[in-house]
């Protein structure tokens, strides 16, 4: 199954530089419909107003972290199947295990490259 390049993607990160990097990488991969949010609370509000095909989120944000966002998404009947990739500098095994238990689809540690992002998106979105 080919990647649906028209699917809307939500990038959640409090560092605008990282948002810009991910946006550019996604653009290079062919994705055009990319929105962003600077924390979990804003992201959750956006997720409730638009159907996203993928969420790419950082972990460490204020006031709502990416981990909390993930748990909210998985607890919400309307959002629970939304693919969710964590892209974070949190590189402790306990973080990866906690995210997996909470229902994350994939986990990328920063710094990462375009190839890793592409591979994970393909794995999660069923290419």
């Amino acid at each position: 199954m080919a990647l649906d390049l028209s699917m809307p993607i939500l990038v959640v990160d409090d560092y605008q530089t990282m948002v810009r990097i991910i946006r550019n990488l996604l653009k290079q991969l062919g994705f055009e419909d990319v929105d962003d949010a600077s924390d979990g609370t804003t992201a959750l509000a956006k997720l409730k107003t638009k159907k996203y095909g993928l969420v790419i989120s950082d972990w460490n944000m204020e006031p709502m972290t990416g981990y909390e966002l993930l748990r909210h998404v998985r607890a919400d009947e309307a959002l629970r199947t939304t693919p969710f990739i964590m892209v974070t500098a949190e590189s402790k095994t306990e973080n990866v295990i906690a995210a997996k238990k909470a229902g994350v689809n994939n986990y990328i540690v920063k710094p990462f490259n375009a190839a890793t992002l592409k591979t994970k998106i393909e794995a999660v979105c069923g290419a």
């Binding site: 530089t17 810009r20 990097i21 550019n24 653009k27 290079q28 972990w59 460490n60 972290t65 981990y67 909390e68 500098a89 949190e90 590189s91 402790k92 095994t93 306990e94 973080n95 990866v96 295990i97 906690a98 997996k100 994939n106 986990y107 990328i108 540690v109 920063k110 990462f112 890793t116």
Partner: protein, 190 residues
């Protein structure tokens, strides 16, 4: 104050009949002299900390230096990304104009990278300030035989921050040898 603590038994009240008022006075005087000597020693060690210099000069300077590093790296990153985006989105029609644009943007990237030299110097000053702080605190702690309170953080805001970090697993980036590798993460996700 181990010397004073060790005297606890010696200062226990004796029976009235055994008491020698002169030697009692001598004992109390000697102990008060020891306390005074210890206080003077602690005062000297506090002076050696040069706490005023630390909080008036070194720590604010380090704070400012780090702020400048954050700003410089953000500004350089912005300049580098803007140049790269211009190249990616180039609409130039001919090879010559495209080449000219790429060369101009690459030059901008080189210029932006000059931040590294200055931030390197700023970070060196912060490292030096932290080194001084560590040295003085460590000297003071061993001079007064300090032990950490078991009550936890004194600052309630810090206590809340620590609790939040623990609950939400906000561990931050790990050292290279402690961080889990992407391959190991991939293995966990099968």
């Amino acid at each position: 104050m181990p010397a004073i603590a060790a005297k606890t038994n010696a200062t226990r009240p004796r029976r009235t009949a055994d008491r020698d008022p002169v030697s009692d006075v001598r004992l109390i005087t000697r102990e008060l002299a020891e306390v005074a000597e210890y206080i003077a020693h602690v005062k000297r060690e506090i002076g050696e900390l040069r706490a005023n210099e630390l909080y008036r000069e070194r720590i604010p300077t380090a704070h400012d230096e780090l702020g400048s590093v954050v700003n410089a790296t953000a500004s350089a990153t912005h300049a580098i990304m803007a140049a790269a985006e211009e190249i990616l989105c180039s609409q130039e029609d001919t090879f010559e104009t495209y080449k000219e644009q790429v060369e101009s943007r690459v030059l901008a990237i080189f210029e932006a990278c000059s931040f590294q030299d200055i931030t390197g110097q700023r970070i060196s000053r912060v490292v030096e300030a932290l080194g001084q702080l560590e040295k003085r605190l460590s000297r003071f702690a061993s001079a007064v035989n300090a032990r950490d309170s078991e009550k936890g953080p004194v600052d309630p805001e810090d206590a809340l921050r620590q609790a939040r970090k623990e609950i939400l697993l906000l561990n931050g980036p790990q050292d290279e040898d402690e961080a889990i590798a992407q391959d190991d993460i991939d293995a966990l996700f099968g």
